[in-house]
Symmetry: C2
């Protein structure tokens, strides 16, 4: 499943210019975002973690466990995102088990990347 394709027909999107912060650490969001156009950078403290592009999820952790995120997400180019609130998130999980599995894959991949970093 490709999130960018899944949400490509959305017209209700939010836009950020290059350099703008999409999500700030410590902020409690009640939505997650799917990046459908543009590139952004995830940073923990001053450390750049990785770059993300179309199809990437932003803020999904906060929606899953209702605690504030500990990373900043900053637009590197003009970004267009779809926002998904908790109601819709639950609906997608119930109606589309592959959506649930794909969200798990995304978080799993981030966890593996952090594990590799700690293991050196």
């Amino acid at each position: 499943m490709d999130f960018a394709s899944l949400f490509r027909h959305e017209t209700d999107t939010v836009n950020f210019a290059a350099g703008e912060t999409i999500v700030r650490h410590g902020e409690v969001l009640d939505v997650m975002y799917v990046l459908i156009e543009g590139e952004a950078e995830i940073k923990v403290g001053e450390q750049p973690l990785c770059e993300i592009g179309p199809g990437a999820l932003v803020g999904e952790l906060a929606l899953i466990d209702r605690t504030p995120g500990n990373a900043d997400v900053v637009a590197k180019s003009a970004c267009r995102l779809v926002s998904i609130n908790e109601h819709r998130f639950r609906f997608l999980i119930q109606q589309t088990p592959n959506f649930a599995l794909e969200v798990m894959r995304v978080i799993a991949e981030r966890l593996r990347a952090m594990n590799r970093r700690v293991a050196g």
Copy 2:
């Protein structure tokens, strides 16, 4: 949802003695485990990451993205676990959306712990 309660009636369980390795990094498992009795330690390389107890998931990343795990899980006491293959895992996600959300919460929490460690 408490995984230890959800699987408490399982009779088909696997057992490990204290000191035994339940999952070895690099190993490709075709099941994940739910720890229903005992305590175990997760290690990345020689670094102990955390201890887990009843209700914890083991090896869920490998089942989600089909790549080998990069952590060792070692029994600290006698451990009893339920093994869940991919077919059952998908069935649980489809039939029990809260199971999917709880799996996401578990991975999210591990990711947050790693992010905190890297952020220092």
